[in-house]
Symmetry: C2
Subunit: 734 residues, 2 copies
Amino acid sequence: MIKIKLHKLLFYKALLAVFAVCNLTGFSTASAQAKKATWIYYPGDFEVWLGNKMQNRRTDRGSFLPVLWKMDSHYVLVEFHKDFDVPATEEVKLYVEGIYNAKVDGQAFIGYPKSITVPAGHHKVSLKVYCQDRVPAIFVQGKTVVSDDTWLVTFEDKEWIDATGKVSDKSGTTYLNAGAWNFNDPLSPPSKFRLPTLPQHAVKSEKKANSIFLDFGKETFGFVKLHGLKGKGKLHIYYGESREEAMSVEHCETLDELDINEPVKKDSVMELSKALRYVNAQYDGGISVDSVSMLYEYAPLTQRGAFRCSDDEVNKIYDISKYTLQLATREFFIDGIKRDRWIWSGDAYQSYAMNYYSFFDSPTVTRTILALRGKDPVTSHINTIMDYTFYWFLSINDYYQYTGDKSFIKQFYPRMQTLMDYCLARRDSNGMMAGLPGDWLFIDWADGLSKKGELSFEQLLFCRSLETMATCAKLNNDAEGAAKYQALADELKAKIFKLYWNDQKHALVHSLIDGAQSDNVTRYTNMFAIFFNYFNEQQKQDVKTNVLLNDKIQKITTPYMRFYELEALCAMGEQGYVLKQMKDYWGGMLKLGATSFWEEYNPDKTGADVYAMYGRPFGKSLCHAWGASPIYLLGKYYLGIKPLTPGYQSYLVEPNLGGLKWMEGTVPTPDGNIKMYCSTSQIKIKGDIGTGLLRIKSKSKPVCKTGTIQAKGNNGYELSIEKGKDYIVSYSAL
Amino acid sequence: MIKIKLHKLLFYKALLAVFAVCNLTGFSTASAQAKKATWIYYPGDFEVWLGNKMQNRRTDRGSFLPVLWKMDSHYVLVEFHKDFDVPATEEVKLYVEGIYNAKVDGQAFIGYPKSITVPAGHHKVSLKVYCQDRVPAIFVQGKTVVSDDTWLVTFEDKEWIDATGKVSDKSGTTYLNAGAWNFNDPLSPPSKFRLPTLPQHAVKSEKKANSIFLDFGKETFGFVKLHGLKGKGKLHIYYGESREEAMSVEHCETLDELDINEPVKKDSVMELSKALRYVNAQYDGGISVDSVSMLYEYAPLTQRGAFRCSDDEVNKIYDISKYTLQLATREFFIDGIKRDRWIWSGDAYQSYAMNYYSFFDSPTVTRTILALRGKDPVTSHINTIMDYTFYWFLSINDYYQYTGDKSFIKQFYPRMQTLMDYCLARRDSNGMMAGLPGDWLFIDWADGLSKKGELSFEQLLFCRSLETMATCAKLNNDAEGAAKYQALADELKAKIFKLYWNDQKHALVHSLIDGAQSDNVTRYTNMFAIFFNYFNEQQKQDVKTNVLLNDKIQKITTPYMRFYELEALCAMGEQGYVLKQMKDYWGGMLKLGATSFWEEYNPDKTGADVYAMYGRPFGKSLCHAWGASPIYLLGKYYLGIKPLTPGYQSYLVEPNLGGLKWMEGTVPTPDGNIKMYCSTSQIKIKGDIGTGLLRIKSKSKPVCKTGTIQAKGNNGYELSIEKGKDYIVSYSAL
């Protein structure tokens, strides 16, 4: 109970902090300041720069442990411009990250002016900025001349002059709209961005002569703070997600080793934030410490989604899922908070899905997508993993479906094309993608999973990626590209069924080796093919029986792939079965004392063995974003709410109690929420956006005073939901 | 006379300074410290980083004026490693630019160790470094474990582990040899690199109440220094390459505007170095200045080449050429010192050629080539100019011919390939390269020069570039690439002669417009085809008469293209004619008081009009590297010394007095010099390298005591020159 109280209090404090720190952190409510100036930069560059910063904070037992793939950089020289109609002469203040020139109609001001005068009339205002260490960025504040994402930017303006002084034709220059987030304070440029912190105290503290051992009551994240530190000598801090880990000075995954030399008592905050529940501070005899606390570091996002139901265990699973996602949502959606703290495309792909049913924070999605993509040239798969490249494509499709944001796709379609070019160039003679040197074929952490030959799983994701390219090509009026990608997708899909489908096994087999089907059937390809809707009805049923519900097929032990396994079953209406699985699996972690969900959970393991992974006793992350999938499953397949057309302009509500007596919840959309309550006899619903379609099964015709129920046969009924209107439907569940 | 004295004194001081500052500046004699540790980095990255720094120092009347093309960045995350056989346990000191880890055999040390212990035996030592603002670089100093260019580096090590902790196969990782220069002091990392400076004083100074006007006696470059500055108010410094420019506060190209607030007298040095001969300092009444001097900033390179002859004017042209090249040789070979101070590929290409007959400083060549090339992706031609892309390829061919350095080509062949891919993708349906949007077709500054259609000049350079690719492909054992590039070159060459050669005009015409030859014949294509040796003998003679010596063909007014025009004539044995041209053209500038050679010189212009260009009264640069070509012409076509096989393993000496009574000189090579004296009756020669072939014409058989003269018919004789041996040949010039 104490844990829950702390959590609620913290959440309240965090909400207050959102408003207090908004201008310092860059997280602020943008709408209030619309039409005002904001810091702008080359789109995608802040994301790459911040990604470098964040991903280079990992340490492994005190040693710096950076990523294993290429890190890109921002463009160091950027031109910004916009044409303005200025009604009366105005003073325009300039704030710039870097050295720069400022021009009106091509005429430069001398030096680095802090303010310029723009006369009345139609004028082109431009700045050109060079900055090596930070992202070139500008904040321009006049009355009408203000910087925002309608400015155009380029990294090569090609503005040369001939011997007579005539300026070049610049038709070869590509301009994009400037990137912006919510850096609305001229004195808080993008480079100053930091996540906010709040003091947090241990629930238990054990102090000895030369050590302090703390329990913060639950998994958390932040900067350890030593109060009243004094003396000279070595001080070690051993961090633990489990008590065992913090106690194990030899094997805990993260630690700090400090040389202390403080003649006078002072407070000292660690340089790097860390994941922890337990802290074990040990120090030499010459050192004294009064007490230890921490600064909780968090992304100040609003939880817009909600879910409650008749089952307390499910409610707890939902709450802990949300807390898990909250912890793993930082500058970006990261994998887990203890170890990597990197942006992994496959992990992030799941966080996006959960985000659409919780924060609905688009900037964190696009920021993560852009940081993952980095810059050209493409020299390896995203995170070096072939499947992670494909999830990257899929994430853009999902983003568009949930948000309806076309402008993002327009700006970054060229980066999609070059990444797809990379894939297409790596196809084998069979037109499929097998692992080449340097490719990591991940799929999942699973004992003995074969990566040999052409894997059906990779081809399936490749096919879906090509479909995404076709969609995005159409959005960008690239008819030729759309036709090309669609043809490639169609051809590949036909090949997948021709080569991998096995009539005896009633499933897609795992791989082709030298052109022949392997004996192996795994869950992965088959479950994805279900919710990709690639199977016909018969195949679906075959796969459900022969693969998904077949205990002889190798079991999945990561929440990562359980996400998709359960999604496939939900997509086939097996919410009842899935609810039991959820209670077993996530409930199983809760029974082991989890305060956030894990990277991997194998019910067969016991004792401290549950913490081991990667050949290390505490290698496993106990707070991994991919553990939080109940958020998504409960929102999309129990509340049953999802967009039918991009950005929820139309959407489906197909509640499925899966054995619950009742449930209620909120699903966020780009413009307001959809709220619903559902029991076995009543449904209440209200949507702030678009047109909804409520689809229910009822023994008899449901009753609704504010809408017209349409019978669809086979006990099915539909009701159209208009924006802003309350609906109460009485029905009788089958 | 004063000027010469100053110059000599300066040169002596500069030589002394080379040794004094070598460890501070990075310029030092590498051979003395061979086998010792040096700072290493990802090859090409320091060059790109320094290029950004240098090219962002341009100002235009006090406004920042950066380049118009894409600026790239270094890789921010780099892995360095090498395997060592360590005879006995040793302490190894580590100096690193950035945050890092250090490992022995994959085991990381905690924190950022300044020193590590490497035990006896075979060990892999590795460091992985992240640095955003500077180039990740390391200096490793043990007894046997030392950093040098035999270390391997990568920007993506792809070192992942599976769930059991097993490390990935890394066969997909591309490693290059580390880049290094001569940063041999652990406390002077690459990021601290600065050119050295020396105090320099005006030869004339005119002080008034609120101004000081100075003449430094000749064109120079550096930081203006104000002595005894005191008071409050505005201070302006107007720089002039000419007296007129410094006097013209409204139109001088460069200036400094300073807000002074100095209650106590102090000396103040300007932040940016500038080109100048004259300085006009003007200040408000509240300000006083005791005197003004400057700090001459220079690249401390050794002038290894030399030339003297019986004609004093030619000697002066040679000296001023060398001084011009010295001034324009800075961190890189730049265009000119007043205005752009950028690295322009076409300009640099000529500096390389001059360098082979003067400094023979390969690091400045490769540094310039790498800074120009930058990183992938290629988004435009080099400097946006199509011809400049081709010069870049040609520069690598020349570099290999003069230095024999295969390792440079091996490291950077992939960057050659991707740049050529860019070109190949931009061919038209005719297989030729016409200007596309964003392409600058430069050729030369010449009134009314048409850039329409497919220009023969661009195709000719494209063809030569393809030949270079074929050569480099062979050097890299890329037989397939070599065949491909050679076939493309052959095809294009045939097309050039088929489409552009005009039998009536006895020349290659300027362009094809809609498939038809334009009426226009220009010198450019025709003169390049001569020294590319693309013509047969008849065509050469035709072109000489009908183009090169034909006054009706538009004259060239830039030293830039005069370089090639005179080279073509020299290649045809017209040294006598060229010597007269040289004395007319370069002598013409001297008669106008030039102390360095200009960007453009048109003998038809007079008065202050000679300084105008780009529609600005002082737009012209009076110290432009491309003005210094006599260095190259005199060395290659008068002394007549050039490599026959790469790196002077064999070379040709074919002196041509061109009407001079005598000449003597030194031509530097990768390993020592070739010295020669030649009069109409005697030749003395000694070479430190390879095998030379002296080729002379003589009325009767020449006499040489130390070698055997071979008669070759038609008054031609040859003598083989062995390394280290003195030869004196008596002959009788025709």
